[in-house]
Amino acid sequence: MSATGIGAPVLRREDKRYITGKGQYVDDVNRYGQAHAFFLRSPHAHARILSIDTAEAEAEPGVVAVYTGQHLADDKVGGLICGWMIHSKDGSPMKAGPHPALAQGKVRYVGDHVAVVIADTYSEAKDAAEKIVVDYEVLDAVVDTAGARTAGGEPVHEVAPDNTVFEFHLGNREPTEAAFARAAHVTKIDLVNNRLIPNAMEPRAAVGDWDAGTDTFTLYTTSQNPHVARLVLSAFIGIAPEHKLRVIAPDVGGGFGSKIFIYAEETVCVWAAKKVGRPVKWCAERTEAFLSDAHGRDHVTHAELATDAGGRVIGLKVHTVANLGAYLSTFSSSVPTYLYAPLLSGQYDIPAIYVEVDAVYSNTAPVDAYRGAGRPEATFVIERLMEVAARELGKDPAEFRRQNFVTSFPHQTPVIMCYDVGDYAASLDKALATVDYVGFPARRAESERRGMLRGLGFSAYIEACGIAPSAAVGSLGAGVGLWESAEVRVNPVGTVEVLTGSHSHGQGHETTFAQLVSDRLGIPIDNVSIVHGDTDKVQMGMGTYGSRSGAVGMSAIVKALDKIETKARKVAGHVLEAAEGDIEFKDGKFTVKGTDKSIDFASVALQAYVAHKFNGQELEPGLKEGAFYDPTNFTFPSGVHICEVEIDPDTGVTRIERWVAVDDFGVLINPMIVEGQVHGGIAQGVGQALFEGTVYDSSGQLLTASYMDYQMPRAYDFPRFSVETTETRCPSNPLGIKGCGEAGAIAAPPAVINAITDALGHEDIAMPATPRAVWRAIRRTPQKMAAE
């Protein structure tokens, strides 16, 4: 392994600009003559718009224009779309209501976009918005996830009279019923997977620009996938044809899923830029982010696990109601369906599984993918069930899991997925040793002596990453393929630019991708630059989410590098006057087998461009190759996380005392960056378990719309994590990598709750397990709660 090659903890090349204040985020972009947009948002969760009077606002100082949904309709600007078609179990397509970028006739959640004011300054736009008079007929709001289908009153969308978007199912129903009929024991749980607000630290922002001379639009936007944004804005919303629309996602300050989607604000900014003939800039205030960024999770689930007399799991039944909010966001329908149900088998060999998911509309912000996206929800279900079942059966929770692990591969589950490889016991063993499991009873006794409650919880998770084989997702309803592209441009002096369709917003691709190229071509890493995030530079790409950039994005680079090597061998053969088949390429040098005749990579690059040594008709000059890589399977990262907590019964405060993560991500490109991803993921998962809860009141007002009300994890909330890995090489991509971006967020919540319930001695605690919730849980038994 070289100092900068695959497997080396190379320090990040992108850091310098961030730590010196030279990053270029969207709000750092300013265009000459730009105007500023402010969005007037609905104060009501559900209301009919009877009239909008913008005359007074238009007369305010500095105001350039005020637009409403009527202007979008007049210009035939299409609505926002959901790109994944889900069919109900009766075969009917999901019921997608209209989603205009500015409301047309109705508002459907607090924060919905009513009008936009464009003015010389942001202050002027904001001031003028106060002068817009909107006459609302307020309607009853649908807020409660479980009650949305029977809420009565006016539905959120006409197309869904009972607020049901779809009734999805997956698995084998009859075998599952049969398994439950013969079960020796059935474990039943009711779970709420709490709604989360992603809270990337950089608020969403957009700058729309239009060049009158060329009739070309440019949109700077906080996006994880600028090409998908361009595709949607062009083909569906109809802003401009793709060749007339450039989308740039420069430095992006975190995404966690929330910046995958195509939102109203960037749509309006780029459209309005032509209307007003000036660049139009918008940057969300934090409360706008709370109100209108797509939220995550929000499931209400009943699940049952059947075991036989020997303690083998023989069946799993799950019924989930998933709240998709007021509109179907870009990929929202895929999250509680194909990113959820296929993962419910966990790491276990379960012969019969049946899952039903009812997705509902409500008068709340749209819900879509948030770090993990469906897989944390699935892991919470199966890992809470396994823990509770072990306790009910009087078995050690680690050994109960081990007894039911999948041990032979490939393993076909009853819910689509075919696990390619894994060694779940290896991760469990390492985790047990690292946490000192045998020492836990003594630590618990010591806590009890101090009047404290101590608990230990497991989470043995699996996820499906490397999203995804295009044909497979197409058959499941995806509107796009999920391949990735790469282009390798070798300059005449042997430096290399790699253009990737992946997008980095904190993941460190400029380092890891360059490690791959440096390793493969035998050139210094400083001679490699990674280009991403600009549709004028990178032809097409699918972006970054689903822990796909390594497994899919880097595989595309490998494929392009294969082509570069093939071409470079031909050039080297001509230069060295040897047959192509006699050329060996190693450590950056092309050598004629069995001789000392060699030429280095940079010299081959130069020869490829000067083209003096070969006939241009036989061999094209130049050294540039592109590739599209379509994965052959999902990848299946897995691991075991163990959380040990101590609870103060006087205050209800839960302290995490130990955290052990043992993950199998396959081959690691950069272990430092992998560890960073795991840390960050765990922090978000712990946030879900202990702190973060989105609260709407019964009228649909968001009560947690600031950092004063929505508790984010802070530095003093965490112990030092022990992060370890095991490795089974992924067989379905050339690098053997699986993906690591979401694992922590997927693994953490059940580990925390299993630890807390272990400490409490009963199962009745919901997320977030705040001090108040834990304090109350300590003071009453579940039986008493049920009687209330």
């Binding site: 310098k16 750092d28 990337a200 608020p203 600031s706 994890p713």
Partner: protein, 175 residues
């Protein structure tokens, strides 16, 4: 007191990283906006505009301050330091900056400037801090990417180097 109108403008003068600067602002303009949009110093970031996330932290007269809660006019005559002034010179990272890189203490980089400024200000007054003290200082900031552990490690390492307890070779960052 005279009533201020939204249209009134004020010229504010202060030093930023040792350089005298003047900027025309509205009465209500925040220091963040004066720095970012008035002076083009976009290294200071705005994450929440309500003083909680800490992304906008700068040093005003040697004390850490939320620039998003500071009116620009209130900075008249002050000595302001921002992330742009943390380096040892053009292209040369400061000790804290280098420690952040060494420990992978940032991912998306958005919150980083504010954390660097809090730590820089704190370490000037408390050169030998404990892990717990630094965790509390960093606890005044929100970072959604790192889980904080590497930030604490970087801060401890930088503090030791600033005390002269250890020496790292000056960062020769890749371009």
């Amino acid at each position: 007191m005279p009533k201020l109108s939204a249209a009134s403008r004020h010229s504010v003068s202060f030093t930023v990283n040792g350089v005298a600067r003047s900027v025309e602002v509205e009465s209500r303009t925040l220091l963040t906006d004066a720095l970012r949009h008035g002076l083009g110093m976009t290294g200071t970031h705005v994450g929440c505009e309500h003083g909680v996330c800490g992304s906008c932290t700068v040093a005003i007269d040697g004390t850490m301050a939320r620039a998003c809660l500071t009116l620009a006019v209130a900075a008249e005559g002050c000595d302001i330091r921002t992330v742009e002034g943390l380096g040892l010179g053009p292209g040369r990272l400061g000790v804290l900056q280098a420690a952040f890189k060494r420990h992978h203490a940032l991912q998306c980089g958005f919150c980083t400037a504010g954390i660097l400024m809090s730590l820089d200000t704190y370490l000037r007054r408390h050169p030998d801090p404990s892990r717990e003290e630094l965790t509390l200082v960093i606890g005044g900031h929100l970072c959604r990417c790192t889980g904080y552990a590497p930030i604490v490690a970087a801060a401890l390492d930088a503090a030791a180097e600033l005390r002269g307890a250890q020496k790292h070779p000056e960062e020769t960052a890749h371009a």
